[in-house]
Symmetry: C2
Subunit: 338 residues, 2 copies
Amino acid sequence: MKGAVLHSPRDVRFEERDAPKISAPTDAGIRISATCVCGLDLWSYRGISAVEQPMPMGHEYCGIVEDVGSAVSSIKPGQFVIGSFFASDNTCSHCQAGYQTSCQHREFVGGAQAPMLRVPLADGTLVSTPDVPPDDLIPSLLSVSDVFGTGWFAADAANVKPGMTVAVVGDGAVGLLGVLAAKQKGVERIIAMSRHEARQKLAREFGATDIVTERGDEGVARIKELTRGVGADAVLECVGTQEAMLQAIGSTRPGGYVRYVGVPHGVKLDGEPLFFAHVHLHGGPAPVRRFLPELIDLVWNKKVNPGKVFDLTLPLDKVAEGYRAMDERRAIKALLRP
Amino acid sequence: MKGAVLHSPRDVRFEERDAPKISAPTDAGIRISATCVCGLDLWSYRGISAVEQPMPMGHEYCGIVEDVGSAVSSIKPGQFVIGSFFASDNTCSHCQAGYQTSCQHREFVGGAQAPMLRVPLADGTLVSTPDVPPDDLIPSLLSVSDVFGTGWFAADAANVKPGMTVAVVGDGAVGLLGVLAAKQKGVERIIAMSRHEARQKLAREFGATDIVTERGDEGVARIKELTRGVGADAVLECVGTQEAMLQAIGSTRPGGYVRYVGVPHGVKLDGEPLFFAHVHLHGGPAPVRRFLPELIDLVWNKKVNPGKVFDLTLPLDKVAEGYRAMDERRAIKALLRP
C-alpha cells in the first residue's frame, strides 16, 4: 500500500510502505475512511522536531474494522470505529482515573495517513459508532479522534461553565474547537485570540463573543481590559510556544485555570512568577478516549459540527499539498480521503 | 519600641525602631501576643534573597487590638485577632474568589517581630477569636496566621479526601501541618518525606502513616513503590527548591495534584516533561484569610494542636537565637513572646 512518509523537513512523500498486519492478539486492522494532517505533524515538517529516519505520518483516524486479533472481544469486523493517537488498555489505574493517554501500556498509533492502520489494544482504544455513518458525518467523526477531543479536554479540565469568561489562545483547529467545547458547555463569554480573518469567522460561528488580535503583553492587557482588570476565569492554551503559555498565564485571574494542550516546544516556566500568578496549571496529551462516547454522541445527533475545521479536502495521494497548505496557513486543517 | 531588624545575612538585631502608628483610616494597631520566625525569613537570613537595607522582620502575628482607624467597623479595641501576612480588603473580585493573597489592594504586613504592629485593611484582614484566649492556645492560634493556614491551603487545593494517598515534600512547619491538614480532612494514607528524627516523630503524631527518607529520583522511586507504581494522588510541595518541585511532580500520578506553597527559589520548569507528567499544578502565597474562621474554630475547640510545631519558645529580645536555631535545624519553629 502507499502512505505518507516524512523523509526530512518539508519532504513528505506518498510512497510504498508495508501494509500493517495484526501482530498482537489485541490488535485491530482498520481500513481508513478519513485521516488528516495535525498541527503536531507540522513541528516535524518544519524541522523543529528532529526527523531522524523516514517517518510514517498521521495519528488521527476513523474507519471500518477489517480484522481483529484473537483476544479482541468488543470490537468486530465491519464496525465503524474511532480511536485516539495513544492506544490504551482502558483498565489500568491511569485509564480508570481518566488519563488514558498516560495508560501504563500505552502505545503511539502512527502511520494513519494511509489506507490501512494497525491499532493496538483495540478493545480499550476503539469506540464504535451506532452504525456505519453517512458520508457527511465523516469529517466531524474524524475530528473527534484528536482535535475536537483535545479542545474538549482543555475546556473540560478547566471546569468551564455558565457565568465564566473563557479565553482561547491559538486559532488552529484545536483552539477553534476549544471555543466550540466551551460554548457547548454553556459558557456565554468566549474570547478567541486570533489575527486571521477566516479563523475569526469560524471562531464566532463556534461561539466566540469577542476577538482579540493582540499578542504577548498587549494580548494580556486586552484580556484584562475586557474583564474589568480581573482576568479570564479560564484560558485554553492551544499552541505550545513560550509566548502562548505566558500569554495564557498572564490572562488568567488568580485562582483561575490555565489548560494547555499543545505539546510545548521550548517552554520554560519560572517558578516564582508562576507562584504569584496564582493560577491552576494543567495539561498534557488529551485523554481523548475518555470523551469518545460523549463526543461521538454529540456528532451523531448533529448537536455540533466540529468537522467545519476541515477547510481543505484532498485525496490521500495529494497529502504533500495538505502539509504545504497548513504550513502556509492557507488551510486550517486538511482532511485526506484514501 | 524594640523589634527585630535584619541588617545583612545572619545579622538580626533586636533594636530600637519607630513604633507603628495608625496611618490610614482602615488600619488597626495590634499589641502582639506572640510572633515567630518563618522559613521564608531564612531565605533572607541566609543571604539567598537579597537584603538591600535594614529590614524589620516577621509577618506572623496574633494579639490584642489597641487602636483602630476611623473607617474600621468590625474590628474593635480589646479583641484578640489573627491576620495573614498579606492584608486584604476581602471584597474585591480576587478576594471573593478566595484568593485574598492576590487582593487587588493587598499590602504586605511586615515587622511583626516586635511588640506592636500596624495592620492595614483591618476589617478585611483580621479575624477575632470568640474571647481573649487562654495562654495555652496562643501557639496554635499563632500557627493559623501562616504555617497552619499554608499547610491547610496545600491540602485543600489538592482536594484531599478519604481514599487518597497524599505525600508531603518538606518536613518544616508547613509540611508537618500539611500532614495535619490532610489527616483532618480524612486522608488515611499520608506519606511524609523527612530524614530528621524529631520531625518524623511529629509527622507521625500529626497523622503520617509512612516516612520516606530518600530524596530526588530515589524519593520518587520510593513513592512509586509505596503506591504500586501509580504515584500519589496528591503531593504537597512545602519547600520551594527545584529538587523538591521535581520530586513532587515525579511522585504524582497522571491526573493527580501537585500543590506548592513554598516561595520558589531558582525553580525552572521545562514545559515538555511537565506536559507528559499530566499533573495538576497550583500554588502561590496561601490565601490564609479564606481559612481563618474555620481554623480558629478547630483550634478554639481543641480539635487540633498545630502549635506543636513550635519546639522553641524565646522572649522576643532573644530573636537572633531563634533564627540561629532554625537555620541550624535545631528547632522546627521558634515562637517569640514580647
